[in-house]
């Protein structure tokens, strides 16, 4: 089942990859994932996206928690911080607060994010920390050799659920939409080109962007989220989907028997950095002058909100 129309020659393809400059974003470490793991395409997607956006790797930090997905920082050639289980987001927040200029990318798996780290997501989202959170969802704990996770399907048999999983899975997209995340999208590791585009959009968005990446665990899940099953259940968002309409986004996120790929929702609103500079202005008494000048408190507030974004949105 291939839709390749013309033959691809390895040498030409390699030359193309070398010429693109994408490999500069790959580290020399060899990924520790199992052959066939969906996460390889996330590394490819990330390097492609960063290359396309010309992001300076010296000014980029990839922060992760613990798990298969969290080994990610070792495989890209940027600054990286492999932290504790569930704590990627608060560490990333600290980094962003310390140096606004850095491009901060947090990565993690479904257990890392929604089990142990669940308390941190709403707060990173509501503060609108200007960073990208890429979540690798394979519905299983891989690094501890196959236990149920918060996104495991009902009836899933694992070493910790020998009599089938009875805990209903979470709906991460619904959660993120209701937390107020400023950019919410979904991609699938089996569609690497689309994945790369989605990562590019998420990186380019100014504010907290959340990309949910569906991926199979080829070693410990032979029955539920396999390439075959995921490949059959993914679909495109309906034509004319309005990314500014949160209710439309939620309606799509509610449908879980088929999984829509693409950008569900996006909005531009003041980020944590904007808020902090506003606090500084007020503390230094500059806000008062502003008020006197315009005599309209509303105006000064919108001024701070629409600071020129550092990166231009790619879409």
């Amino acid at each position: 089942m291939s839709n390749i129309e013309q033959p691809v020659y390895l040498e030409e393809k390699l030359e193309e990859i070398y010429d693109s400059g994408r490999l500069d974003y790959r580290s020399k470490s060899f990924p520790t994932w199992c052959p066939g793991c969906g996460y390889f395409s996330i590394v490819e997607g990330m390097t492609t996206a960063m290359n396309n956006l010309s992001i300076d790797p010296d000014e980029t930090v990839v922060v992760s928690g613990i798990g298969c997905a969290s080994r990610f920082p070792f495989f890209v050639n940027t600054y990286g911080f492999h932290t504790l289980h569930g704590r990627a987001l608060p560490v990333a927040t600290g980094i962003k607060v310390a140096n606004e200029k850095l491009t901060v990318i947090a990565v993690g798996g479904d257990g890392d994010a929604f089990a142990i780290g669940g308390a941190h997501i709403p707060h990173a989202a509501r503060r609108n920390v200007d960073m990208t959170y890429i979540l690798f969802d394979n519905g299983i704990y891989g690094l501890t050799k196959g236990q149920t996770s918060p996104t495991s399907v009902l009836g899933f048999k694992t070493s910790t659920s020998p009599f089938e999983n009875h805990d209903a899975p979470l709906n991460p997209l619904m959660m993120l939409l209701s937390y107020g995340a400023a950019w919410v999208g979904q991609a699938y590791a089996g569609h690497p080109h689309h994945l790369a585009k989605m990562i590019e959009q998420a990186l380019a968005h100014r504010g907290f962007s959340y990309l949910h990446v569906l991926s199979p665990c080829v070693t410990f899940d032979k029955t539920t989220k396999t390439y075959k099953n995921l490949g059959m259940s993914v679909r495109e968002l309906p034509e004319g989907h309005d990314t500014g309409d949160i209710m439309a986004a939620m309606a799509q996120a509610r449908i879980t028997d088929t999984l829509a790929l693409g950008c569900y929702f996006k909005e531009l609103r003041p980020t944590l950095g904007d808020g902090l500079s506003d606090i500084t202005r007020r503390a230094q008494g500059k806000e008062k002058d502003n008020l006197r000048k315009h005599d309209k408190p509303k105006k000064s507030r919108t001024n701070s909100a629409t600071k020129v974004p550092r990166r231009r949105a790619a879409v």
């Binding site: 470490s29 790797p57 010296d58 000014e59 980029t60 930090v61 922060v63 613990i66 920082p73 070792f74 050639n77 940027t78 600054y79 990286g80 911080f81 492999h82 932290t83 504790l84 704590r87 608060p90 560490v91 990333a92 927040t93 600290g94 980094i95 607060v97 310390a98 140096n99 200029k101 850095l102 308390a119 941190h120 709403p122 707060h123 902090l276 606090i279 500084t280 007020r282 503390a283 230094q284």
Partner: protein, 607 residues
């Protein structure tokens, strides 16, 4: 305690009332005014964990011309703003001390409910109509607490002018008429006090002529921490509210943005320490503050900080534990978790100041140490130290260094940067995100010199993380330990840490006047221990006493473990500061003297 001698002053005033009476405010005005007048002041407030609901508030202020180190167990004056709360504290007034109380209650008082029926024969009663005084001048009873302070000031001949300034400052945010009203109430009561026939012999001598008026600032332990942070150039603070550390966060919330810096209230303590570590990794000076329960949550991140070699400063103001424990009572029981609390061999630096000035120094130094040694530094405070006020003089010139990080050298061609390079002093040159060409990954996994996960390097890297800290006790410009008292051989050595050291010093001074050869040592650096001076003192002494406010003797355990010397423990967990008398009795016992008849009355269980 020695009675106030001629020309010198040593008066301790306790103001006791119900929450809402303005007890703490009255104490605040008194201590600030006296510090302004040039006296040495130590003050400590006790208040209930509830905001409303008639809890007991006590404000104790010790005013002296010589430097003192703790509060006295017996006060010279007790002012009662609420008799039901003040009656149990009558026994804490010394013989021939004064009790000042409301003598015209607003309604019928049931038998035994008025304080005058509870005074001892040796107490001197001063009945004053605070309420009436306040109502006459201000047509409201709300300035009752100010009237009480005014009466006291008149009675003891305190300088009037300084109070005006302090009262104006206190109400500066309120309408000007309020300041006027309170000054009127103060004045009216001052005159009544001045014209009162004095019964007691205690009086306020003018402050020593060498006292520098105005140079001394009234400052709490937490206030000094904030000053230290600001002077050390703190860039980002992350915190979650918890008694008694919250005031650090509150003050920084208004001070940091003025300098263009950041204070962020996080969703929990885990997030607070995580963001602190994150900011430290990104190369700025970052800190968080918490108390025992929050610190317990932070301990996993402390391990990451040690493993990934990231600087961070954590202020821990201890309270009664375990668990939620006693949120508004003091204790020194988080030493174990501060020194050992994390998975694995997680070496870190722990500093514990013993007084308010020490809070300032330790706060600033903590940033230097964290940056230099690339590791989390804990500054251990406790509620008694966080909330107690002392008149301190801070250095005019900022004493803290700006950047203590070990810089990276220029890389040769084809040379890769090794984040965890093992050097002579075991400290690796540190690059931060944004530095061109020094890209690396730090991790909580055991790693090699490049930072790549590797188990085989564990022995070598454990040694690196351990040995790099061994030079901390020899750092200049800060006393990691200090010996006081007799030099050479002594009968009793008292070793202490944290806020309890004030009481230890007072007890030692009294013991020496009784002819006991003794020395006291404060240990500021609790990890790694400054063993050289500690061993020197242990070798000099016949008996060693370790008083501390925890049940198990956590510091005594550490000392015994590190030196092999068995020590005598004095452990108390009343939730209040250690009593000088208890330490003194123990010194006398160890010195082979019969416990002498305590001057003043034996303390009764009042709190």
């Amino acid at each position: 305690m020695a009675r106030a001698q001629k020309k010198s002053t040593d008066i301790q005033i306790a103001i006791c009332g119900s929450a809402g009476d303005g007890t703490i405010a009255a104490g605040d005005i008194l201590k600030r005014a006296m510090a302004k007048a040039g006296y040495k002041v130590i003050a400590f407030d006790v208040y209930p964990p509830e905001i409303r609901g008639f809890g007991k508030c006590i404000s104790r202020v010790r005013i002296s011309s010589e430097q003192t180190y703790s509060l006295k167990p017996l006060s010279d004056v007790l002012i009662s703003l609420d008799d039901s709360h003040a009656i149990p504290h009558v026994v804490e007034v010394r013989d021939f001390g004064a009790v000042i109380y409301e003598d015209t209650p607003v309604s019928m008082v049931p038998e035994g409910a008025h304080i005058s029926g509870h005074l001892l024969l040796t107490h001197l009663p001063y009945g004053v109509p605070f309420r009436e005084l306040s109502e006459q001048v201000t047509s409201s009873a709300r300035s009752r607490n100010i009237a009480a302070v005014g009466y006291l000031a008149g009675l003891y001949g305190m300088p009037r002018d300084v109070f005006y300034g302090v009262i104006s400052d206190k109400f500066s945010a309120k309408p000007a008429s309020l300041t006027q009203i309170n000054i009127q109430a103060f004045d009216a009561a001052f005159e009544v006090g001045r014209d009162t026939f004095r019964l007691d012999e205690g009086h306020l001598n003018p402050p020593p002529s060498n006292a520098r008026n105005g140079d001394l600032m009234m400052m709490s332990g937490n206030g000094a921490i904030v000053r230290g942070c600001m002077d050390a150039g703190l860039d980002a603070f992350f915190g979650y509210p918890i008694t008694p550390a919250t005031t650090i966060m509150e003050r920084l919330a208004s001070e940091l943005p003025v300098k263009g810096k950041t204070m962020l209230q996080t969703e929990d303590e885990i997030s607070a320490i995580s963001a602190t570590i994150g900011a430290g990794y990104a190369g700025v000076r970052a800190a968080t503050a918490t108390s025992g329960p929050g610190f317990a949550l932070m301990s996993e991140m402390m391990g990451l900080g040690a493993m990934a070699e990231v600087p961070a400063v954590i202020f821990v103001s201890q309270r009664g534990g375990p668990s939620t424990g006693m949120p508004t009572q003091t204790e020194q029981s988080d030493l174990n978790i501060a020194v050992f609390g994390s998975a694995g061999d997680s070496q870190r630096v722990v500093l514990a100041p013993t007084n308010v000035e020490g809070c300032y120094k330790c706060a600033g130094k903590a940033f230097e140490i964290a940056e230099r040694y690339q590791t989390p530094v804990i500054v251990l405070l406790d509620l008694y130290l966080s909330n107690r006020y002392e008149a301190v003089e801070l250095p005019a010139k900022n004493p803290f260094k700006e950047n203590c990080s070990k810089p990276v050298g220029k890389l040769k061609k084809d040379q890769t940067y090794h984040r965890f390079e093992i050097t002579k002093d075991f400290i690796s040159p540190r690059a931060i995100p944004g530095d061109k060409g020094y890209r690396h990954v730090v991790t909580g996994l055991e790693h090699d010199e490049k930072g790549r996960p590797r188990d085989q390097t564990h022995q070598k890297m454990s040694q690196k993380r351990h040995e790099k800290l061994l030079s901390v006790p020899r750092l200049p410009n800060i006393n990691m330990s200090k010996r006081f008292g007799d030099k050479g051989k002594v009968d009793v050595a008292i070793i202490g840490w944290g806020s309890t050291f004030g009481e230890i010093l007072e007890a030692m001074i009294v013991a020496r006047t009784e002819g006991i050869r003794c020395a006291a040592m404060k240990v500021v650096l609790l990890s790694p221990l400054p063993l050289e001076p500690i061993n020197a003192l242990l070798n000099d002494s016949r008996e060693v006493l370790v008083p501390e406010l925890n049940y198990e003797g956590q510091f005594a355990n550490m000392l015994t473990g590190a030196t092999g010397r068995s020590v005598t423990r004095l452990n108390r967990v009343p939730g209040t500061p250690m009593h000088v008398q208890d330490i003194l009795d123990e010194i006398r016992r160890l010195a082979g003297k019969k416990p002498g008849k305590a001057k003043g009355r034996k303390r009764l269980a009042a709190e």
